[in-house]
Structures are given as structure tokens and as C-alpha cells.
């Protein structure tokens, strides 16, 4: 075949490719069905969708999603079993696989086993701790708090900030077990962590944490420190928890994290080779409900934002982009070389190899997609006994979107944890949809 004929053949192939988009589906394609089931309040159906797409390469991802769906369905024990399995698998798969790296260079990034981003690994411990707290097993939650401490100390992340909510939750767990000094240390670390967040993460220091710092400083007899905090935060009085009272901790998980989409750039080189470079990008989406007002016995408190998982995810991807791009370019070089070699032997084979390489090049869009978009928290001291809790779910304009009621039984000197997962159909729609090609 002449060079011109070859080029035309390639062009036709490329056009055919673009028209019959099919190719291999990426992770974020089938997740849509699962999300629809979650937003309609059917985590069991979502679990079935998940089971259908389980694959051995993405065992960690499957286990994490399963754990979250089981948690949404209220099956905390099963959820913890899934989390533990995920942790064991991550530990195993963290070792670099020689064969996977090879195939990642030859095919696409999804050939590498998924180990989870750093922020996702931290959130495993956070949600497992919340499961144990819901099961009223604070000692087990304490184990998770210790594991969190180890994880946050030895992180291989190159970010200059630490997860504030992880520290804050650790403090709450220690307080629940009466370990005031450890709780004070954890609250201080949480305060430092929230302060050090860069502006674009949109996570200010929660008001509740400020009140907790002052309250615990008073309790542990650190009067100087309590006075300094009072001046700095401009807070005069802080609600104390009388000795015989308990506490309600209300946690709102709203929306779902955004999904990654694959963006492909295709070009034809002068020798007639089709080259593809694909990069992942987030399609941002915002939840409708961003806070909740908790009303009990005439008093009410509004939740604070404690974890903006959305911005953490986007920041994590932003940091990885240079490395992903380098790998994508290396992959393009390898693939071009391979198809050139095939071409030298046989024209038709060369064309086939070239097209196959182009079709299989998709970005890695895997992420723990059942994570909430935001986590909000409110704490309320209550006398022991039965109480009726009313929750008003608020949007960004402070309108009440929905109401929920709970009946709780508070025990003295005990904390009760209530979690609400709120995902609406509108939460799944991206703000600026990317045209995935």
C-alpha cells in the first residue's frame, strides 16, 4: 500500500472509532445505575448492581463500595467485615506488581490494581469507626482511632495538610470513653489540621470544634489555654455537658462525590499512526442539602461542615495529574512503537494493532464513588431518657427541603450517634458536564 492510501485507511479507521464509541466501558459508566438506586433510597438494589460488576482487579473498589452500601442499608456488622477485607486487600496489593506495571504501559492505567487514594484510605477508618459507634461499641471504634493515628502519621501523601475530621472524630471517641487528655490532644490536632487547609478546599474550622476545645480545656483544668481560645474565637459561654447527661451526635452524609470521566485526545502522526492520550477529569456536582437543623426539647443547633470530600477528591486528582500525564505519554510512545513494528511485518496487522491500541486507551476513572459529597456534624447535650429529635434538611438558601423525625434513648454519660444519608436525584447531575469521548 502507498503511504497516502495508508493515511486514508487510518483516517477512516479513526472516524469509525469515533462513531462507534462503544469500546471498553470505563468504571464511571456503569456506576450511574448504582447511583440511581442509591438516590431513590434503595441501597439493596444498588448492591445487586455492584455484585454484577465485581472484578478481581478492582477487588478493593468492590469491597469499599459494598461496605458503604451495606452501611447505608443499616447493616453495620457486614459493612465492617467488608471494610476489614478491603484493608487486608489494600495491604496486599500495595506492593508493586511487575506484571501489572507492564500491562499498564502496554494497554491502559486500569490494568493496575486499585489501592485507593490516600484520602479514601483515611475515610475507610473514619467510616468503620462510625459503624462501631452506631453499634454502640466505643472500644472497637477506639481501635480504629488508633489505626487512624498510625495512618495519619506515616502517610506517603505529598500534601501539606492532614485530615481534620479524622482527628476530630478521634477526639469524640476518646471523649466518649472518658479519656479527656487524649481527647484534648486530638481536638488540638484537629484544630491545627482545619487551620492548615488551603483556601480552595473550602473547609473552615467548624464552630462545634471551637466550642469543644474550650469545653475540654475547662474540664481538664487547662485554664490558660481555655482563656486563650475564648479570646481567639470570641466565644464567651460554652454549653457544658452536666455529669449525668448524655450527648447526641448527629452526622449528615449528603450527596455523592463527583465521578471521573475520561478525556481522550487523538492525533495522527506524519507516518500515519493514530496516537491517543487520555486523562481523567472530575465532573463536579453539588448536593442540594448542605446542612441540617436539629431540634430537641425546644433547643436547636445547626450542623457544621466537617469534611468536604468533594474538594479533597478534586485536590487529590490535581496533584496526581503530572504523573498520570507522564504515564499516558510513555504509554503512547510504547504503543506507537509496537504498531510501527507490526506495520513493518504486515500492513493489515499494523492497522489492526494501531486501532486496538487506540480503542483500549482510556483514562483511569476509578474512585470510591459511594462516598458522600459532604459530611456535616452537630452535637447536642441531652438529659438521660427518651427524646424526640426533629431534623430539618436545609439547602444553600436555608430553605427546608425535607424533614425527618427520630426517637432516641439517651443514657447518662453516654453518646448516641445518628447518621443520616441524604442523596437526591438532583445531586447526581454534574454542574458542568464534560463531553466524554
Amino acid at each position: 500500500m502507498t503511504v497516502v492510501a495508508k493515511k486514508i485507511a487510518r483516517l477512516c479507521g479513526a472516524l469509525l472509532l469515533i462513531m462507534t464509541l462503544g469500546g471498553c466501558a470505563t468504571y464511571s459508566d456503569w456506576v450511574g445505575h448504582m447511583e440511581a438506586d442509591i438516590s431513590s433510597g434503595q441501597p439493596d438494589k444498588a448492591l445487586q448492581v455492584l455484585e454484577k460488576h465485581a472484578s478481581s482487579k478492582d477487588a478493593v473498589l468492590y469491597l469499599l463500595n459494598r461496605a458503604m452500601l451495606q452501611r447505608m442499608a443499616g447493616d453495620y456488622e457486614a459493612s465492617n467485615a467488608s471494610f476489614e477485607a478491603a484493608k487486608a486487600m489494600i495491604s496486599r496489593v500495595s506492593a508493586i506488581s511487575v506484571s501489572e506495571q507492564g500491562s499498564a504501559l502496554a494497554v491502559n492505567d486500569m490494568m493496575r490494581s486499585y489501592t485507593g487514594d490516600y484520602y479514601e484510605q483515611v475515610l475507610i477508618h473514619v467510616f468503620e469507626a462510625l459503624n462501631y459507634l452506631a453499634l454502640n461499641q466505643p472500644d472497637q471504634a477506639r481501635v480504629e482511632a488508633l489505626q487512624l493515628d498510625v495512618k495519619l502519621k506515616t502517610h506517603g501523601d505529598n500534601s501539606n495538610y492532614e485530615d481534620g475530621f479524622a482527628r476530630y472524630l478521634t477526639g469524640i471517641i476518646y471523649e466518649d470513653l472518658g479519656e479527656w487528655d487524649d481527647a484534648m490532644i486530638a481536638y488540638r490536632q484537629a484544630y491545627d489540621a482545619y487551620r492548615r487547609y488551603p483556601q480552595q478546599l473550602e473547609m473552615p474550622v467548624p464552630q462545634q470544634l471551637k466550642a469543644d476545645l474550650i469545653r475540654l480545656a475547662d474540664k481538664t483544668g487547662l485554664d490558660d489555654e481555655a482563656r486563650r481560645y475564648r479570646e481567639k474565637f470570641d466565644i464567651k459561654t460554652v454549653p457544658q455537658i452536666p455529669g449525668h447527661d448524655g450527648e447526641l451526635v448527629f452526622i449528615l452524609n449528603t450527596g455523592l462525590v463527583p465521578l471521573k470521566r475520561s478525556i481522550e485526545i487523538r492525533a495522527i502522526t506524519e507516518s500515519g499512526q493514530l496516537v491517543t492520550v487520555s486523562m481523567p477529569a472530575y465532573e463536579d456536582r453539588r448536593p442540594t442539602v448542605i446542612a441540617a437543623r436539629v431540634t430537641v426539647d425546644g433547643g436547636s443547633v445547626t450542623t457544621d461542615l466537617v469534611e468536604n470530600v468533594d474538594s479533597l477528591a478534586m485536590d487529590a486528582l490535581q496533584k496526581q495529574k503530572p504523573l498520570i500525564l507522564a504515564r499516558a505519554i510513555a504509554r503512547a510512545v510504547v504503543k506507537t512503537k509496537v504498531s510501527k513494528e507490526a506495520d513493518r511485518n504486515n500492513d493489515a496487522l499494523g492497522l489492526l494493532v494501531n486501532l486496538a491500541n487506540a480503542i483500549t486507551d482510556r483514562a483511569d476513572t476509578r474512585s470510591w464513588s459511594t462516598l458522600p459529597n459532604r459530611i456535616c456534624l452537630a452535637r447536642l447535650p441531652l438529659p438521660a431518657g427518651k427524646h424526640r429529635i426533629e431534623i430539618d434538611l436545609l439547602d444553600h438558601l436555608d430553605n427546608v427541603v425535607a424533614k425527618k423525625k427520630y426517637d432516641v434513648d439517651i443514657a447518662a454519660r453516654d453518646k448516641r450517634f445518628i447518621t443520616l444519608n441524604w442523596i437526591m436525584a438532583n445531586d447526581l447531575i454534574p454542574i458542568n458536564p464534560l463531553r466524554a469521548r
Binding site: 506492593a95 506484571s99 507492564g102 481501635v143 498510625v150 511485518n345
Partner: protein, 203 residues
């Protein structure tokens, strides 16, 4: 030159073959319960057995046992109280407590009474017997043997991690407390230290 191209092609083919190879079939190998097999570095059955054996043989060889038998001319009744897990791992406390209970009972030197968890079911059964069982086979309420001593304890850990290496230190502390007057008659401690190295590569 042509051989170079062929080699590259062959290498790519080999890579593809590697990808599709997958794992071999599952293997099962039965091993005896007292064989030591440390896989992940976490607390395993060997740790549980080691600690319980050593601690129980220690507690049964101390002075408090003799003193009690002299003072009351009967064997002491022991109950296992709360053993707290203050470590980094979700240790299965049931197997650990079970190992200790077994060692205590089988020694024959102490009387052993059911712990708090088991008692509830037994009491309900007794209540049921009161209503449903035959007169001469009914077991009366209020005839339980009150324990003389309670065994309490905790497991603590200290971790030291650097890169792929980790030193794990477990400390198990047990105390035997007299229920009559809160005296602590025995304190036992067992330390376990492990050095764990994580794999850097895998196939």
C-alpha cells in the same frame, strides 16, 4: 536490525501472555493447631495461646491460692470480667478469653463460674424451668455460686513504623481482684514483640 524488531515484538507478546496467565488453582493445606504460622504480623492464634498458657500457669502458682485455701478451706471461685482491647487491632477477645477459661478450669485448682454474658441466658432458662419443668427437676433461683475473685485485664500496643518496616509491641496485663475487699492479689504481664517487613514487589 530485523532481529531487534522481532525481539521487541516477541517481548510484547510475552507481556500479553503474562497478563492473561492469572493465578493457579486454590491450594488447601491442613496444619495442626499448635503449628506456628505468622502471615500478616497481626495478632493470631499463636499469640492468644502463648499468652493465655503462660499467664494462667503463672497465676495458679502464686501465693494467693494457698492463702485462700488455708483461710477458707475450699477452692476459690473465679469469674472472668472485662478484658479491654486497647490495641491497634481488632483482636478477637472471645478466643483469648476462651483459652484462659479453659486453662483455668482444666487445672482443677480453682472453681470457675460463668461470666456476665453467659449468666443472662442461664437465668432465663432457670426462670423458664420454674414455669415449665417438673417439680423435682426444677433448679431454684438464688443458688448461684458467688465468685471470690475477678480476673480483669487489657491489651495494649506500641507501634514503630518506618517505611516498609514495623516493630509491634503487645503488652497483656491481667489483674486478679478479690471481690470481698477489692484487694489486688495477683498482677500478670506478658510482652510480645514482632518485627514485620512488608513486601515491596509482587508478581
Amino acid at each position: 536490525m530485523i532481529t531487534n524488531n522481532n525481539r521487541l515484538f516477541k517481548n510484547m507478546l510475552l507481556l500479553v501472555a503474562l497478563m492473561t496467565l492469572g493465578a493457579c488453582a486454590t491450594k488447601v493445606e491442613r496444619i495442626s493447631p499448635d503449628q506456628v504460622r505468622d502471615l500478616s504480623g497481626n495478632w493470631n492464634d499463636t499469640d492468644s495461646q502463648l499468652v493465655s498458657q503462660e499467664m494462667i500457669s503463672d497465676v495458679l502458682s502464686r501465693a494467693w491460692l494457698g492463702n485462700f485455701q488455708q483461710a477458707h478451706s475450699k477452692q476459690p471461685a473465679v469469674i472472668v470480667g472485662e478484658i479491654r482491647n486497647l490495641s491497634h487491632e481488632h483482636i478477637n477477645m472471645n478466643t483469648f478469653v476462651g483459652d484462659m477459661e479453659r486453662a483455668l478450669i482444666n487445672s482443677g485448682k480453682v472453681e470457675f463460674v460463668a461470666s456476665k454474658q453467659d449468666r443472662q441466658e442461664i437465668r432465663e432458662e432457670r426462670k423458664d424451668q420454674d414455669i415449665n419443668a417438673r417439680e423435682d427437676t426444677r433448679k431454684a433461683m438464688g443458688m448461684e455460686l458467688g465468685a471470690d475473685f475477678m480476673l480483669k485485664g487489657e491489651i495494649n500496643t506500641i507501634l514503630d513504623t518506618e517505611g516498609k518496616e514495623q516493630v509491634r509491641y503487645y503488652q497483656v496485663d491481667l489483674t486478679l481482684i478479690s471481690l470481698a475487699d477489692n484487694r489486688i492479689v495477683w498482677v500478670g504481664q506478658k510482652k510480645i514483640k514482632k518485627f514485620v517487613t512488608k513486601a515491596s514487589f509482587r508478581p
